[in-house]
């Protein structure tokens, strides 16, 4: 069995699966259950200053469901911990003592004054916790008080607070980023400049889950009104993957350790984030949907996959997909693919035809010789992949690369074997021309 042990900015854990700072890590009771279930680490629910915040007493969550109530996206308006600071600190200390082999990171959020940070850091240090995570991400409630994403949206603040933390504490420091910005590389660069040991992302995305059309209020409705919340769960994974990848490949932050968060539900999700540069994978919604036991499958799934691929430790594949995350302009324009329908698998639903006919390139038949039949017209197919995505039968439509030297029936041009991209394309007004031209 592959070795899943992880060392992340000096913090050791038996596997890379951590619970993100959220209700699952709210108190000793939950965290002990999580460790018993096998989680490698936790980021404790964000601590603040006393008096503790208060939460709403109505619905905190809203969700988007599939037809069979599969939870696709979750939204919340919960704040940071609403328990007294001393209680949390006492429990953290106890848990760390009882579970020395697990990672225990403490999430923090206090007002942007150096004194406040000095104060809380001292208290956390006392607990023996492995590190701190600075919550610059919470998009609701806390941001209105000048904390959370209000800090995370201003790179200068991130850098300033990070610097205080590094200055006043010996603990490893992770900066948790908000996705509610235009370019995630800027806050990551600021964190690095401030001396952060790592970044973690994403926190939740500003969202309104729906509108109750009877009450005429955003939902979930609390006494007739609704407010935006933070979106998470499987639906946000693609957004998180992109942000993690952007930071991983940004020369300014290249090599900065990343703890990935956002929609991680299975071992495969985690492996994908790790391939894009993440050292650990944090989970919130999946645990809140199914309970802690899902970690068993995450552990065996990742380990079985690693065995199959011949990886013996996680660092062997962390970051391996980063070099292949490119920009559009560098994609090979000489790579030409055509959709191909496997007639043995085709169930003749016609979705590929109507999708292509109505909205794309009119490249799929619906009749051949008077018979219902769906075939790709190579003369029209631009290889866009839409039919593959709408076909209800897996692997029924595949994209087949055309061999160099053959003729593309659409353009009537020879498929070149050499790589060529937009930067040198004749249609590009900014193309880099050969010196001779």
């Amino acid at each position: 069995m592959a070795d899943l042990r992880t060392e992340f900015i000096g913090i050791k854990s038996p596997n890379p699966f951590w619970l993100a700072s959220a209700p699952p890590t709210d108190k000793e009771y939950n965290v002990v259950r999580a460790f018993k279930a096998g989680w490698g680490g936790v980021v404790w629910k964000t601590l603040g200053e006393d008096p503790a915040v208060v939460n709403v007493n109505g619905p905190r969550y809203g969700a988007i469901h599939g037809k069979d109530r599969q939870l696709i996206g979750l939204n919340n308006i919960e704040l940071i911990t609403d328990r007294p600071l001393e209680v949390n600190l006492r429990e953290i200390k106890q848990v760390k003592r009882d579970w020395p082999d697990r990672a225990l990171v403490v999430s923090l959020m206090v007002p942007c004054e150096e004194e406040n940070w000095i104060n809380i850091l001292r208290k956390v240090e006392d607990t023996g916790a492995d590190g701190v995570e600075l919550n610059f991400g919470c998009p609701h409630g806390m941001s209105e008080r000048g904390m959370g994403s209000a800090v995370g949206q201003v790179p200068e603040y991130i850098e300033m607070v990070t610097r205080w933390v590094k200055q006043h504490s010996r603990m490893p420091c992770i900066v948790k980023l908000t996705p509610n910005i235009t370019d995630v590389r800027k806050p990551a660069q600021a964190a690095k400049a401030g001396g952060a040991d790592a970044v973690s992302l994403i926190n939740t995305i500003n969202s309104i889950m729906g509108v109750d059309l009877d009450v005429m209020s955003p939902s979930p409705v609390i006494d007739g009104k609704g407010a935006h919340g933070g979106y998470c769960g499987p639906a946000v994974k693609p957004i998180a993957l992109n942000m993690v990848g952007e930071i991983a490949r940004d020369p300014a932050t290249y090599g900065l350790p990343i703890s990935a968060i956002g929609g991680i539900t299975t071992w495969r999700d985690a492996a994908e984030f790790m391939a894009l540069g993440a050292g650990t994978a944090q989970v919130c919604t999946a645990a809140m949907t199914y309970g802690f036991r899902i970690v068993e499958d995450m552990i065996t799934g990742l380990s079985d996959w690693m065995d199959e691929k011949g990886y013996t430790s996680v660092d062997q594949f962390v970051g391996r997909a980063v070099p292949n995350m490119s920009d559009w302009q560098y994609l090979n324009l000489n790579y030409i693919a055509k959709a191909k329908i496997n007639q043995d698998l085709c169930i003749e639903c016609g979705r590929c035809h109507i999708a292509c006919e109505d909205t794309s390139h009119q490249a799929i038949t619906n009749m051949v010789d008077g018979q219902r039949k769906f075939e790709v017209i190579d003369e029209e197919c631009v290889g866009c992949n839409l039919c593959v995505n709408v076909c209800p039968v897996e692997n029924c439509i595949t994209m087949e690369a055309m061999a160099p030297g053959s003729i593309d029936p659409r353009t009537k041009k020879v498929v070149e074997k050499d790589y060529a991209n937009w930067t040198t394309h004749p249609n590009n007004p900014m193309a880099v021309r050969e010196a001779a031209e």
Binding site: K67, D68, E348, R351
Partner: protein, 457 residues
């Protein structure tokens, strides 16, 4: 199929016929005759609707005799608009509620559903159709259609079965004044008197007829029989057009000795009694029942006598099981209800003393050069009741002198017009009728459109 007959068939156990009511505990009747497929709940409907691929030029829609836009109505369920879904259904088939219950979907829409072809699990189109139409009928008292502005034209519709009801409704939509005649006491035709009771519970046929008539402009006159109380020539002079949807009132005879014995019954008549019975525990049924036939009626009578408490029920069919008109699903339904299916056997004699039935003698058959022949081997099944379910025929009431008939049925064109210029016909009574509720509905609809076209010309 029963290869070796159990001994009980060979021995005569009792002298007189054993026909009795109340064979079951009182509470068993309600359970036995409850809904075959209970209504889907909203979650089940959403999940099932989500299985539909919203096919392009959907095969299911082409297989529906009334061309209901199936992907559309299923999508409307999926998006939380069951009312709109029902409107989509009713616009093509005003008896969409009954069809959802009685259509042999396994040989119609669901047979060609791409998910049936791909994985043997079709989208449950029939049950979704019921979900939408039941929802609509629970929420609304009238059909979603408005009676058209009066045209001043009068149409006589004879027969208030599916064909007649469908025709009358569509004519009312076009603003014609309709008089709907039926020989029976209630409207609905075989929906009311024939369909197996577990397919249409809670008086659905009557509720549906009322729903359809709610459009207005249709006057229902029951107890009026063409041939007795009504005359085709009179109707033709009093009305601008006539539609005949009189079904097949007669039952084919077996043509064997002993058919007049007490206990030898028409399946359709018995089912009509069963459907109208207020208290099923008072309906007498034989202990040992033999059904002659191989269609839907044979299955229906066999299953329902079993449900009434008959101990031994055998369907005897003269060819192999694959040739039975009842669908595989129906055959399966019979067998899971404990009905035995005896194939390659045809009736020879109904045996009994003093006019009472005690057994039926069947002769083994085989196929020789494509035609059926008896082998001479005789099997005797003890029977207290024998049901004839070998097809129905048109009761001709003098029609043959006025209209072109062929093989005992009315000949019509693609527009369902008969050989008379002002008389249309549809449903079971026409040649090449499919003997399906849904086909009768389509006939009525097509005829109404054709009548409308000719009246507005």
């Amino acid at each position: 199929m029963i290869a070796n007959l159990p001994e009980i068939y060979m021995t005569q156990t009792k002298a007189g016929p054993d026909i009795a009511a109340g064979r079951l505990p009182d509470d068993a009747y309600a359970e036995n005759f409850g809904d075959l497929h209970p209504l889907l709940d909203p979650h089940e409907a959403a999940v099932e609707a989500d299985r539909c691929y919203f096919c392009y030029d959907a095969p299911c829609m082409q297989a529906c005799p009334t061309s209901i836009d199936i992907p559309q109505f299923i999508r409307q369920i999926a998006t939380g608009n069951p009312t709109g879904s029902a409107k989509t259904i009713f616009s093509q088939n005003i008896l969409g509620g009954m069809c959802a219950r009685v259509c042999p979907t396994e040989t119609l829409c669901e047979q060609v559903c791409v998910r049936e072809v791909a994985e043997g699990k079709p989208v449950k189109i029939g049950q979704l159709q019921r979900y939408a139409t039941d929802h609509y009928m629970a929420e609304n008292d009238t059909t979603p259609f408005q009676r058209g502005a009066p045209t001043g034209k009068k149409v006589a519709v004879v027969g208030a079965g599916p064909a007649g009801l469908s025709c009358a409704h569509r004519l009312a939509v076009h603003g014609h004044e309709v008089t709907l005649f039926d020989a029976r006491e209630k409207a609905g035709g075989l929906n009311e008197y024939g369909i197996a009771s577990y397919k249409s519970v809670d008086d659905f046929a009557a509720r549906e007829a009322e729903f359809i008539l709610s459009i207005g402009g249709i006057e229902l006159k029951t107890g009026m029989r063409l041939g007795d109380d009504l005359d085709l020539d009179r109707l033709r002079t009093e009305y601008d057009a006539v539609f005949l949807g009189i079904g097949l009132g007669g039952v084919n005879a077996l043509g064997v000795p002993g058919e007049d014995k007490e206990g030898a019954l028409d399946a359709v008549d018995y089912i009509a009694d069963l459907r109208q019975a207020k208290d099923l525990s008072r309906l007498p049924v034989g202990r040992r029942v033999v059904v002659i036939g191989g269609g839907m009626t044979a299955v229906d009578i066999a299953v329902q006598t079993r449900l009434l408490g008959a101990e031994d029920v055998t369907i005897a069919y003269r060819r192999g099981q694959d040739r039975m008109n009842a669908s595989e699903y129906e055959q399966h339904l019979a067998q899971t209800n404990g009905v035995k299916i005896l194939t390659w056997a045809q009736p020879r004699t109904l045996v009994g003393e003093n006019g009472a039935l005690s057994a039926i003698e069947l002769e083994r058959t085989q196929e020789q050069d494509g035609s059926l022949a008896g082998t001479g081997e005789i099997i005797t099944l003890p029977a207290d009741m024998v049901f004839k379910a070998v097809g129905q025929k048109l009761v001709q009431t003098g029609l043959e002198e006025k209209l072109t008939l062929e093989r005992g049925r009315i000949v019509v064109g693609p527009d369902r017009k008969t050989s008379l210029d002002d008389v249309w016909a549809g449903g079971d009574c026409v040649l090449d009728g499919e003997d399906l509720t849904v086909a009768a509905v389509e006939d009525g609809k097509i005829a109404a459109e054709s009548i409308n076209a000719s009246l507005s010309a």
